[in-house]
Amino acid sequence: MDTVAGMAAPEIHRYVTDNGLRVVLAPDTTSPVVGVSVHYDVGFRSEPEGRTGFAHLFEHLMFQGSESLEKLAHFRHIQGSGGTFNGSTHPDYTDYFEVLPSAALERALFLEADRMRAPKLTEENLANQIDVVKEEIRLNVLNRPYGGFPWILLPPVLYDTFPNAHNGYGDFVDLEQASVEDCAEFFDTYYTPANAVLTVAGDLDIERTTALIDKHFGDVPVRPAPQRRSFAEPLPTEDRHDTHQDPHAPLPALAVGYRMPDPINELDGYLANIVLASVLADGDGSRLQQRLVHADALVSDISAGAGLFGPFEARDPDTFAVTAIHPAEVSEQRVLAALDDELDTLAATPPNDEELAKVTARWTANLHAEHDRLVSRTLGYGSLELLYGQPELLFELPARIASVTADDVSAAAKALREGSRAVLTVEPSAQEGAQ
């Protein structure tokens, strides 16, 4: 199927190993490099109460050694083979990945299999990584303006239940209480092969790679995948508001959060929200940029998006968010009124064909750019297999985006206006802003 002009849908092989590991293989020999990723079906929405930040802390621990690998060995073997690596924790999954010269493929599979089979979870490594994670939080949240805006600050306003509302980076108090026993239980529950997706993309041979996967992952013990929890919670019934004091921020900011259609089970409605976000805020010709940034000069910057970490990152419930930074002289009410007005306009009169054509063309080009970067291609296949069971969706998206109609976008705008929303205000609180 030729879903995107100029690029045939690539070859994708999928299978499930005897111990339940889902495998995606996507050969493409354009460059002699290969990407390997493992996605585990657990993110920070699954962490227990009293253990905020645990999923992310555990991600750090997975790099700290396993039965065949001393502390630091994982990093040294990847980088000493010419490769790069990382891991990241999302609301509904945690990924681990490396990109390497293709000569190092077997080594990467070995490293991922070893920590899936037998990670070393020790007191010493746990204490060290709690310190490192606290530094990460100081760097990204506590010591900078707009830290955690909006991904930490907005969910507790829009959501009521612990999984959806809590801070995924974690409170220091909770992090410090994490124990090795917690780690063991978390690993045994969630890090089973049956709860994971292994993706290999790039310069690979299918037959050889399949044999290598069998060799290295074949004896990872079978453990059942946990029953997946629903994180569904009722829609808010009235508008909500909260204020956050930011000692580093020089200007006020606001985030407006809305509930959205289920990204998995109502994909068409979800896609309409993605197109809506683009019509609202992508590029100088978009509606909010034209109106709020330029014509009315209400905000210095504004953005809109499906998902707090980008689209196709989470299951239901997911958030549509609009964020803006504005001068203190402009009231929040004026910004919100202009936003409401633009949504009302779209709800009453659907966008024109050119607006939709722009969205489709930019999505198509972005898809190509993403496909061209092996790390994002590998992670894209892995997360879509995990969330949708459809890695090939990556290539169908431009066509799916193109099939969203003007009326669909209009209906999405109307739904945002009719639902209840959450508004989070960031207020500069300090001394520092005046400098």
Binding site: A5, G6, T30, P32, E67, S68, K71, L72, Q79, G80, S81, G82, G83, T84, L100, P101, S102, A103, A104, E106, D114, A118, L121, N128, V132, V133, E135, R138, L139, L142, N143, P145, E181, C183, A184, E185, D188, T189, D203, R223, P224, A225, P250, G283, D284, G285, S286, D301, A357, K358, A361, A365, H368, D372, R373, L374, A430, E432, G433, Q435
Partner: protein
């Protein structure tokens, strides 16, 4: 919950009946295919470097225009120019530019620093004629309408207020002043009060005097025919000409070692350590050896610095050492952000590792690891159109070309242990470094004073 959940201890999880397994050997590495390249100077003096890389049907564009200036208002004017270059021409307004680009899946963006004005973009390769047409229109006919300049100037003032609260920006600005005093190279972020004074006439005059093809470079990488593209560019940019050359930044002086300056940021929970020493540029025969020495010190995760202050001590989330290129000059910058309580201890360890690199040379294992990493990570970063375009633009800026890039893996492969040891001893000596610490003096002051070599604010 499953029946097995929580049944095993951490100790049981960490071992199997079979026990530890051996690390697989590396296989044979396939070579990269040769690239089709055109590298030529147009009649207007613009260097065009075009490379065919048809992995996807798109094209990446990078243009670098030397943009030095000594007037104290230069950086403020340059910043406003960059923000308004793509906001209107005689035939297109801001929205029309965005619409035309969007319809070819395209983007164009600008950035400016003391050395250069950069225009970066991409599009579906079928849209390249439009991309070049919009670019040419802006380069030859940007109008800098009064209203656009006024609005972008106001936004810039707001954004500068935000930028100057970022610890990273504060630390970079302080380091530049510590290294270069009031040299124009230090004016990376203009002052808001200067920006507020910039007029549309100032911006138009700066464009006229400084947005010039001679000495500039345009890099195109993608699903293109390099030779045909040169002709396309020549045609599209024929109206862009001038006798004068674009203005390079005045060369920066060599930096000398000295005390670190403590910069006060009261109430901060973390400090920024920034140390810097003179290095050598890519054209020096010792460059590859110094590149490997730098990786071993702090240039990648498996380096001595990261393994010490992050993985052993937990003082930092990220520490790194990297090259900073300015004109033909190069320096090393060592940086780490650490909790206030351990700032002095982190500086102590950093100095220890600087001294150790020269005195206890990288082992054979360390050398082979950084060698593989340097070669492999270059292969990975240049395996995408965007990565290759950015890499080539940086090289072109230093007068180098695609051939230099293609031969660099061989240079890295040929470096000897002695060459790395010599580079480490010469360039990483602790006394060669100067720098800054940004933090809360009430918390970090006593420890830093005890350690010495740090001047209080």
């Amino acid at each position: 919950m499953t029946v097995n959940a929580g049944n095993r201890s951490a100790d049981e999880i960490g071992r199997t009946p079979q026990g530890p397994r051996p690390l697989p050997e590396l296989g044979e590495q396939r070579k990269v295919a040769d690239l089709a390249v055109a590298d030529t100077e147009l009649s207007n003096g613009l260097r065009v470097l075009a490379v065919r890389k048809a992995s996807v049907p798109t094209v990446e564009l990078r243009m670098r225009i030397p943009f030095g200036g000594t007037d104290p208002m230069h950086s403020a004017r340059a910043e406003v120019l960059a923000e308004t270059l793509l906001t209107g021409t005689a035939t297109r307004d801001r929205v029309a530019i965005d619409t035309e680009l969007a319809l070819i899946g395209g983007e164009l963006g600008t950035a400016v620093d003391p050395e250069r004005l950069v225009v970066s973009g991409s599009a579906l390769s079928s849209g390249l004629p439009t991309l070049l047409d919009v670019l040419a229109d802006a380069l030859t006919g940007a109008t800098y309408a009064d209203a656009e300049v006024a609005r972008e100037r106001d936004r810039l003032v707001e954004r500068l207020a935000v930028a100057r609260t970022q610890p990273g920006v504060i630390a970079r600005e302080a380091l530049q002043r510590r290294r270069y005093g009031d040299h124009p190279a230090t004016r990376e972020v203009p002052q808001a009060e200067d920006v507020a004074q910039v007029t549309p006439e100032d911006v138009r005059a700066l464009h006229q005097a400084s947005v010039l093809p001679r000495g500039s470079v345009l890099v195109l990488v993608g699903d293109i025919d390099p030779d045909a593209v040169v002709g396309q560019v020549e045609g599209a940019l024929r109206g862009w000409s001038a006798g004068a050359s674009a203005t390079p930044l005045a060369e920066v002086p060599d930096i000398t070692g000295g005390d670190l300056h403590l910069i006060a940021r009261p109430g901060s929970v973390q400090s920024q350590l920034r140390l810097s020493a003179q290095a050598i540029g890519r054209t020096d025969p010792r460059y590859a050896a110094l590149q490997l020495a730098n990786l071993a010190f702090g240039g990648y995760f498996s380096s001595r610095l990261v393994e010490n202050i992050r993985e052993d001590k937990g003082y930092t989330y990220g520490a790194q050492s990297s090259f900073d290129f300015t004109g033909q000059a190069a320096t090393l910058i060592v940086s780490a952000d650490t909790a206030s309580e351990v700032t002095a201890a982190a500086l102590l360890e950093t100095r220890y590792e600087l001294g150790r690199l020269g005195l206890v040379s990288p082992t054979d294992a360390e050398l082979e690891s950084v060698r593989q990493y340097a070669i492999g990570s270059l292969l990975i970063s240049t395996s995408s159109q965007g990565g290759l375009a950015s890499q080539l633009a940086a090289l072109a800026n230093a007068g180098l070309d695609a051939d230099w890039l293609a031969k660099h893996p061989d240079r890295l492969a040929d470096v000897t242990a002695d060459q790395v040891a010599d580079a480490a001893l010469e360039f990483f000596a602790p006394t060669k470094f100067t720098g800054v610490v940004v933090g809360d003096p009430d918390v970090v002051g006593t420890g830093l004073a005890a350690l010495g070599g740090v001047v209080a604010p």
